[in-house]
Symmetry: C2
């Protein structure tokens, strides 16, 4: 039934990706390697085939859930491309408060923000068994020198990250709690789908608190809003397992003006899902555990 293809994201499940060498699986330092061309595909780029470029490989690191890929303040010398698993990047402020900056998934790059200062400026913590390609930045720029297509790719990666951060500013600066959550769920859906997993059924790997931190909300608000979505029939929630029931309406919560099927495409404000007392005060929205 493929009800949740996202639960297992180990590389062996992903279609067509395999380590070049797989010896000594159990040593602390893995000897596995990935082809650069493979990573390019994961990143969503297509490069002209090149025999010499196809020979380039990078080492792979495996990280268990809870372990950190790199610490804030560590000297920067490599970027990482996630091959499988699920991370969170956490910036710790001077006052000790933590802020979740993102949830890197397979096909996404980690560490580009360390180039300028020469240090990583966020903890990167695995929320799952993870598998990343380690790409020494000096080697990457070297490749960019030799191959114009790689150079272009590298600039695109930076730029893409910037675009994403701008979108994040939009979410944090203008959207309500409901819209932020809806946007977050749709983003996850899209990213899982892009990887070949189900777009409608997936697991949140993060706690409510981590999600809240990422979205500028408190964990209670995240929990309440998810419950409200479920009560409205938009999604199913079971702990961290999410199933999207009405993605179109979720999208309309983010932006009331998206045109998808019926109704006028004009200015119509989707009423908040968390309407207090939907109509008859007698009807409890949700029966608590019987």
């Amino acid at each position: 039934m493929f009800d949740s293809g996202s639960r297992e994201t180990s590389a062996s499940n992903a279609p067509g990706y395999a380590d070049v060498t797989c010896s000594a699986e159990n040593t602390g330092i893995t000897l596995a390697r990935v082809r650069f061309t493979e990573l390019v595909g994961l990143l969503g780029f297509t490069l002209p085939v090149d025999a010499s470029l196809a020979q380039v490989v990078f080492p792979v690191r495996r990280i268990k859930a809870g372990e950190t890929l790199c610490h804030a303040g560590d000297p920067f010398n490599a970027v990482y491309v996630v091959r499988s698993g699920f991370f969170k990047t956490v910036a710790t402020e001077t006052n000790g408060a933590e802020l979740v900056l993102g949830f890197p998934m397979p096909g996404e790059v980690i560490g580009l923000d360390g180039v300028d200062s020469g240090r990583y400026l966020a903890e990167v913590i695995a929320l799952d068994i993870c598998n990343v390609a380690v790409i020494p930045f000096a080697q990457l720029t070297q490749l960019a020198h030799q191959y114009p297509c790689v150079e272009k790719l590298l600039y695109s990666l930076f730029s893409r990250e910037l675009v994403h951060k701008n979108a994040m500013a939009w979410v944090l600066g203008t959207l309500s709690a409901e819209a932020r959550l809806a946007s977050f769920l749709l983003d996850l859906s899209h990213r899982y789908g892009r990887l070949g997993y189900s777009r409608t059924s997936f697991a949140l790997r993060a706690t409510r608190e981590e999600i809240g931190s990422y979205l500028g909300l408190k964990l209670e608000t995240v929990s309440r809003t998810l419950s409200a979505f479920a009560a409205a029939g938009l999604i199913d929630v079971n702990r961290r397992q999410i199933t999207l029931r009405d993605p179109a309406r979720l999208r309309r919560i983010v932006d009331p003006n998206v045109e998808d099927d019926d109704a006028t495409p004009h200015k119509r404000k989707s009423a908040p899902v968390t309407a207090r007392r939907p109509r008859t005060p007698a009807q409890p929205a949700l029966a608590m555990a019987a």
Copy 2:
């Protein structure tokens, strides 16, 4: 008195910067040029002196207040370095809502987010008489190829932008309205100071609404908060003219744990400046240190 060195930001006022050629001032297309090495200094980098690199110049564009440097959707082919003036970058969403993404000032780069999609994705509008260097991106990458130091600079620019956007996420996601405004004022102060202007007295070039959009607040909240700061003796406000009276306390509003002079460096929450009736209804807000 030097009460507002920031009011005039034309290039002729900035120390040591002059166009290489200044013919035909009044033609629509300016013939002025800037040396690349000059821009590098403006950007805050130091490069090893190189005779050939010192010959590289870029054209200059002058833009009057209210005009736009580039439109969202325009094909991307150049980045801009602000030499003088003050811009706002505005992303217009599908629903027509506008979001101010930033306020580029001299020494800052515009357009890096267009590399990936090949199109600018925000309007860049001058809030002042502006002067920018036009740097064709292809030419810039070409330079990066020839000069490793330029290559490093380019990566740093991208990375620096990313770091700044992360900081913005922090502001939008975790700070109160007061803290956001304080952070904004301190940021402006720092950026003006970096340019050789007064850190304590400067003019906001943006309206309350634009500032609010940038900070995820409504214009009324911006106005109220500025008034509250003024009432508390933190700043002076006269329309768009701002004078910082107590930067240290502003900093403490952003992060209560900064250590600057007195008091315990422990967990102390700076009471909101907008205290409703601080104690005795007769006494206005500046209760803390006399």
